[in-house]
């Protein structure tokens, strides 16, 4: 740390390590406040597309915060190219705003650093399997744009146990990772259901799973997305089953800095657009064709054939068309990484509402 070029920095340095948490909070609110001049916290209906989009266009590149590596959401393939559900969202945004899905700088962020990196302006948006919560929204000065993946804490257990739902796990020992929430959720669940579930704690998922395979515990618990990845690494995946149901809510989604409502709205409607596309059968392959031939006003508005919905947000009317052509609709993105060819996780809550899930696209009108 070479220098602290402003007075705030100097005073922060005096706060020392003990003041780190307080300093983080201070800066969080400070940025949210000072963001007013930079981010244009204008009243609704004011200047579109907002300062963040203008900054991205000027830069010619979207700075997109992602995970440093988690199966299905963000990982690098053999050539080092980023792949995953969250990564696809970054590419879709770049296609919509800049016209080119490749104009993204992926910024891998670690769990402790992710929100600071967003607050400091190093990234424009954080799409990093992060749960949307009250604290993050209200105290950290972040906007909870929209969940793009509904996860929850689930259980992977041996078929030998002969149980089919979580409430039947009475007396079982479950391997899990250190870090309060996973263990806390189990304790809460056990208390509220009058059951007893033992836990065995590990630092790394690999260690926990090895312990499970050698029989030191009866199962493993983690977010459902991670469980699917984990099962595929087992020696005999068929001996293990992911139990129905979850014991916690983990709506993973998109975070932005508070202060640029237009930017958050654009991202929100991009997600709704990807869902709408799936609901109406608009795919990567047929998007161009649908734009020309469809008479459904929702599809025509979505793809920019009528209504000028893109222009109303300060973008152009083909924003969604480009996004869909770049990464496909929501179902296509899900299938690419969590479908049978990927991690093989049933859609469950992530299915469209019309098919029994929670993904409910708001109408384009």
């Amino acid at each position: 740390m070479t220098g602290f070029p402003n007075g705030l920095g100097r005073s922060l340095r005096r706060l020392g390590v003990a003041g780190l948490a307080a300093a983080t909070m201070l800066m969080g609110s400070g940025l949210a406040g000072s963001g007013a001049h930079a981010q244009g916290a204008a009243p609704a209906g004011a200047t579109w597309p907002g300062v963040t989009v203008e900054a991205i266009k000027k830069r010619g590149q979207l700075n997109c915060g992602i995970d440093v590596g988690v199966p299905g959401f963000a990982s690098q393939d053999n050539t080092g190219r980023w792949q995953g559900l969250d990564v696809s969202y970054c590419r879709a945004i770049a296609a919509a705003v800049l016209g080119d899905p490749e104009k993204v700088r992926f910024v891998p962020t670690t769990t402790p650093a992710r929100f600071t990196v967003l607050q400091s302006g190093e990234i424009d948006v954080l799409i990093r399997d992060s749960t949307l919560t009250f604290t993050r929204s209200v105290q950290l000065g972040l906007d909870e744009v929209v969940p793009n993946f509904y996860a929850g804490q689930g259980f992977l257990v041996s078929k030998k146990l002969g149980v089919s739902k979580i409430a039947d796990l009475n007396g079982a020992t479950i391997c899990t990772l250190t870090g309060a929430t996973l263990e806390l959720n189990i304790a809460d669940f056990a208390k509220s259901h009058g059951t007893k579930i033992g836990t065995l704690l590990f630092e790394k998922a690999d260690e926990a799973v090895a312990a499970m395979e050698t029989g030191r515990c009866d199962g493993y618990t983690d977010d459902t997305g991670s469980l699917a990845g984990m099962r595929s690494t087992l020696k005999n995946p068929a001996d293990w089953v992911v139990l129905d149901g979850v014991i916690s809510k983990e709506p993973l989604g998109i975070h932005t800095r508070t202060g640029d409502a237009q930017w958050s709205k654009i991202l929100f409607w991009l997600h709704e657009g990807l869902l709408t596309a799936e609901e109406n059968g608009v795919t990567k392959a047929n998007a161009d064709e649908m734009k020309k031939s469809s008479s459904d006003p929702f599809i025509r508005r979505l793809l920019g054939a009528e209504g000028e919905f893109g222009k109303k947000m300060g973008l152009d009317d083909e924003w969604m068309l480009r996004a869909i052509k770049a990464v496909g609709n929501y179902g296509e993105i899900y299938d690419a990484y969590f479908g049978p060819k990927g991690l093989d996780l049933p859609r469950g809550q992530n299915n469209l509402a019309s098919k029994g899930g929670l993904q409910y696209p708001l109408p384009f009108r």
Binding site: M1, T2, G3, F4, P5, N6, L8, G9, L12, R13, V17, L20, A23, T24, M27, S34, A38, V68, G69, V70, P71, G72, A74, S75, Q76, D77, N78, T79, G80, Q83, R105, V107, P108, T109, T110, P112, A113, T116, V117, S120, G121, E122, D206, V209, G229, M230, S232, T233, K235, Y337, G342, L343
Partner: protein, 346 residues
């Protein structure tokens, strides 16, 4: 026979030997079967690998990523050229005899300048490659090299500073050294990542690579300073006194007479720190840089290869062992060479 007597000469030795042989017999064949006999060398994904053997196909498919990170494949030659230059400069310093000075100049000035231009690009028609895309083993080597190149001169100043008779200089140096030796590297790297963006003006960002280099340099210079101070203390005071009797200034005596001898005596300690530093560079994955360990950990998250931690980390262990062995060999060679050229033998 001597060998056998050493192993089985006394009942206690015989017992120990039998126990060790039994241990090896139990583990080595299983390891060999896993690592070689049952191993899969070619496969498109983990599913195609034999379940009981090592899946080296993972390492093979990702080898370029492990070495170069996300550095564009068409530009890999630039990295290769850099390492070639570095190797020539190092070998020259070790073996060139009288022309060693030329190679030392190449190592300290030529390699950083030419290497920096080659790796970063952006001029002379070389496409720009952002430091965020540097990764793999290449990043460990680059970080170690820059850190040592920057930390050595700083540490010499600190070592002299701590011995200085001026209180401000000596207290300042002592405070610096004790502070950086007293804080954990991981915590400082973390502060560099989390705190620094908050102090910088809006819109100004410092590449993560620079943050890591700054932190590592401050850290290592404190350790090196103490090693070199140890060397300075080991030079008999008669050396400096004799130099001054010949008419040298105090500073001339220190730089021309004392320092070279001190550095020579510090070689084992310096090599120790270099090896340590090289391994410590794996900690930079916490600031979002993908060094070899970071790339491997990251690769375990690819759905095609998920869960191959044993293979990945075995490769990392071998790679680090080979590199550190090279440092040790070079250090040993230097000790022997300079050890012969003691005072009065030049």
């Amino acid at each position: 026979m001597k060998f056998l007597r050493a192993l089985f000469g006394t009942p206690a030795n015989a017992l120990l030997s039998v126990a060790m042989i039994a241990l090896f017999a139990a583990t080595v064949p299983r390891f060999l079967r896993w690592a070689f006999l049952d191993a899969t060398w070619d496969a498109m994904s983990r599913r195609a690998c034999a379940p009981d053997g090592a899946c080296w196909a993972f390492v093979k498919a990702r080898f370029p990523l492990f070495i170069y990170g996300r550095y564009p494949a068409t530009e890999h030659w630039r990295v290769d050229l850099c390492f070639l230059l570095l190797a020539i400069a190092c070998l020259g310093c070790l073996f060139a005899g009288r022309r060693r000075g030329m190679f030392l100049l190449m190592l300290l000035v030529g390699v950083p300048v030419v290497g920096g231009v080659l790796l970063a690009g952006g001029i002379f028609g070389l496409p720009l490659v952002e430091t965020a895309d540097w990764g793999g083993l290449m990043l460990n080597v680059i970080l170690s090299f820059i850190t040592i190149a920057l930390a050595l001169p700083i540490s010499v100043l600190l070592a002299f500073g701590r011995r200085s008779s001026l209180p401000v200089v000596s207290w300042g140096s002592t405070a610096f050294i004790e502070f950086w030796r007293g804080v954990p590297l991981l915590a400082v790297l973390f502060m560099g990542l989390i705190m620094l963006p908050m102090f910088l003006p809006d819109g100004m960002t410092v590449p993560n690579l620079v943050r890591a280099v700054v932190v590592l340099t401050l850290f290592e210079s404190a350790y090196l300073a103490e090693t070199i101070r140890g060397g300075l203390q080991g030079v008999p005071s008669g050396q400096a006194e004799a130099a001054m009797a010949l008419g040298m200034h105090h500073s001339q005596a220190q730089v021309l007479i004392v320092l070279p001898q001190a550095l020579r005596m510090s070689i084992p300690g310096i090599i120790n720190i270099v090896v340590d530093l090289f391994k410590d560079t794996t900690l930079v994955s916490i600031v979002g840089l993908f060094d070899l360990m970071g790339v491997i950990t990251q690769s375990l998250k690819d759905p095609s290869w998920v869960g191959l931690a044993t293979e990945g980390y075995t490769f990392a262990a071998v790679a680090f062992f080979v590199c550190c062995l090279l440092f040790s060999l070079a250090g040993g060679f230097m000790e022997r060479q300079f050890g012969n050229a003691g005072p009065g033998k030049r």
